[in-house]
């Protein structure tokens, strides 16, 4: 049999590529598991999955350094996992168990793990963009070398906080990276039907003196390279970047959404032709990575998620005494004597 021609490693070495794949695959399996748990009625409240958008979370997190900060939306499981938060902690929080990252007090929309630089997930659209700006201000002020990354959707570009945060960050040249995950929809409404410009983030960049950057958000390598450029710019005092990642959400907006508004064939098209995991798996093979290594990564991820699922399932619900803890800094909730 003729030897298969493989590509040489480029600027991204094999170790990094495997890291990128591992991260994407972990998000994929964990999100699918979150969906299954929801069908088993074990995920209470709501939940917003990143199926189809894994490459963005993986690409940015892989390019971050340990002290970097992430600010996420309610669609934040992916970004939290990508920073290395425990899978039990994430699934446990979705299931509102005591083992959850926030012991069930926050729920799926507010995943937080400050030990991993995940400074919270926010469910009021726009709120966390100025917060990321503030984190960057602190870094600049105190001479720290961390960068803040804020992830948000296409729909978020239409709220005032987006515009205020960008202008502010540029004025003070702050080390913050704004990442717009353009998945084509603001909940159930196609983004182009309610936005003045075609590219909701990139076409606004020039208004704030920023480069217009549009990338293929389903290509983890492209995301990773773009992130590296933005982080080195931020760390060298050159200020913020705004990056629009084109992607597609393969799940409903939230758990209750069957996606009836999608045109026929759209979802299938993306799943078949532009799935980040499938694409990356073929790329690994193209670059000569052995099937056995890929299988090994996948098996390991599945085992980790299976074990985490069992652990979360057997974790108790949060004890009632934590209801009134951590309202104030003294740990309690008292407001009168």
């Amino acid at each position: 049999m003729a030897k298969k021609k493989t590509l040489k490693n480029d600027d991204i070495d094999e170790k990094k590529r495997l890291e990128l794949y591992n991260s994407q695959y972990l998000i994929r399996v964990a999100e699918q598991r979150a969906y299954d748990l929801f069908l088993e009625n074990l995920v209470k409240g709501t939940s917003h999955l990143s199926l189809g958008q894994e490459a963005i979370a993986a690409g940015f997190a892989t390019a971050m350094q340990e002290n970097d900060k992430s600010f996420c939306t309610y669609r934040g499981h992916a970004h939290t996992l990508a920073r290395g938060a425990s899978v039990v902690g994430v699934l446990g929080e979705l299931m509102q168990r005591d083992c959850g990252l926030m012991r069930g007090k926050g729920g799926s929309m507010h995943l937080t793990d400050t030990s991993k630089g995940v400074m919270g997930s926010y469910a009021i659209i726009g709120a966390h963009l100025p917060m990321a700006v503030g984190s960057a201000w602190r870094a600049q002020y105190m001479g720290h070398d961390d960068v803040a990354t804020v992830f948000f959707g296409d729909g978020t570009t239409n709220i005032g906080a987006f515009h205020e945060a960008l202008n502010y960050a540029v004025v003070y040249k702050l080390p913050v990276v704004f990442v717009c995950e353009n998945n084509n929809y603001m909940e159930y409404t196609p983004i182009e039907s309610i936005t003045a410009v075609k590219n909701p983030a990139a076409d606004r960049a020039s208004a704030y003196g920023l480069d217009s950057i549009i990338i293929d958000g389903n290509d983890a390598d492209e995301v990773y390279r773009t992130a590296q450029v933005a982080y080195s710019k931020a760390r060298s005092g050159e200020g913020p970047s705004l990056i629009e990642c084109k992607t597609y959400r393969q799940s409903g907006h939230s758990r209750a959404d069957p996606g009836a508004y999608r045109p026929d064939g759209e979802l299938d098209h993306w799943k078949k032709n532009n799935d980040p995991i499938t694409r990356y798996r073929s790329r690994l093979i193209e670059f000569g990575v052995k099937q056995k290594i890929i299988d090994g990564i996948e098996e390991n991820v599945k085992r980790v998620v299976d074990e985490a699922t069992e652990e979360a399932k057997s974790s108790p619900v949060p004890p009632e005494e934590i209801l009134t803890t951590n309202v104030y800094a003294n740990g309690g909730w008292a407001w009168r004597n």
Binding site: K44, G45, T46, Q96, R97, R103, G104, K105, G106, G107, S108, M109, H110, Y122, A123, I124, I125, G126, A127, G155, T156, N158, I159, G160, A161, M186, E187, Y188, T189, S193, I194, T195, Y261, V317, P318, E320, I322, L323, T324, V327, W333, W335
Partner: protein, 325 residues
């Protein structure tokens, strides 16, 4: 009479007013083609088309600001703010603008508009999607505050809100959207500023609002069955204008007052009612007036924690029993 769900009553109320009055139009996020995230406005887009039922960007300040500008210049817009928690991002328009323009212009400006919003807990959505904020609104002079507990009241009070000359914040309870009830056929218009005795009784008065009304009724029924305590339940329905006549005549009859509020403890609407009763009916009271509220904490997401946070039938029942014994 027709059987409608609370959410169907929302659409029915809006449709009734849009059919009657060309100047009524409806804007909000995902409200038109998708029929709203709570499916409370399904069918309106098909019936009235894109000129009158409009999907907006995520731009709450623009939504309320535009509704206000249209109202000032001759329309009667209905604007949806999906979750009442999000009112915080456009509160300027509620607290500083629509509530004050009539006063500051000495009556030259008017703002006949309705802001509809999904309020309240029970959905395990956590601290930023579950709050009951009707007391925030009640604190601002110049706006009216409505919070219905039944499908009939939804339709009738929504119609009254659209026809009102003042801005109205209309709080729909998310945990009530699925309930069914009788709604009068044909045109149905209720009256703002009227409370309702929804369960007559003679031993004590519970004043409740929205989701707390069915819970108060259940607790009252149980107190009757178990202990022969006969509790009257008053559904306030509109916090502003407040129907103190109905509340006071109930308290004068029973001599005891309990409020059941979903708000966190401090500055809940019950505090205002208790203070009025203490002021005006002190000598009619046979014992302390007691507030049953959510503790003064943000709402937790976990179901077991949320369930012990918001007043439940059991908590209302035991508290009243404790106090009356």
């Amino acid at each position: 009479m027709a059987q409608l769900t609370y959410r169907e009553a929302v659409a029915a109320g809006i449709a009734q007013e849009m059919e009657r009055d060309e100047t009524v139009a409806f804007i909000g996020e995902d409200v038109a083609r998708a029929g709203g995230v709570f499916k409370a406005t399904v069918g309106l887009f098909d019936k009235f088309g894109p000129k009158r039922v409009i999907d907006t960007p995520i731009s709450e300040q623009a939504i309320l600001g535009a509704a206000m500008g249209a109202a000032m210049t001759g329309m009667r817009p209905i604007a949806e703010i999906m979750f009442s928690d999000f009112l915080a991002v456009c509160w300027d328009f509620v607290a500083n603008e629509m509530s004050k323009s009539r006063y500051m212009s000495d009556g030259q400006l008017k703002c006949p508009l309705v802001v509809r919003t999904g309020n309240g807990g029970g959905s395990r959505f956590g601290a930023q999607h579950s709050q009951s904020i009707e007391n925030w609104a009640m604190a601002i002079p110049g706006i009216k505050v409505v919070a219905p507990s039944t499908p009939a009241d939804v339709k009738g009070l929504l119609a009254a809100s659209v026809r009102d000359e003042d801005p109205v914040i209309f709080f729909e309870h998310k945990s009530l959207y699925a309930i069914k009830g009788e709604v009068p056929e044909g045109e149905h218009v209720d009256t703002l500023g009227t409370a309702k005795v929804v369960r007559p009784g003679k031993d004590a008065t519970i004043v409740a609002l929205a989701l707390m009304v069915p819970r108060a009724i259940q607790a009252a029924d149980k107190l009757m069955t178990d202990h022969g305590i006969d509790v009257e339940v008053v559904d306030i329905r509109t916090l502003v204008p407040l129907d103190m006549k109905t509340i006071s005549s109930s308290v004068a009859k029973t001599g005891r007052l309990f409020t059941v509020e979903e708000n966190p403890r401090l500055c809940g609407w019950g505090a205002e009612i208790v203070s009025i009763v203490v002021d005006e009916l002190f000598w009619d009271l046979d014992g302390p007036a007691v507030r049953i509220t959510t503790p003064h904490i943000p709402l937790p997401a976990a179901d077991n924690l949320e369930d012990i946070t918001i007043p439940s039938v059991d908590r209302i029942y035991s508290k009243i029993l404790d106090v009356l014994r």
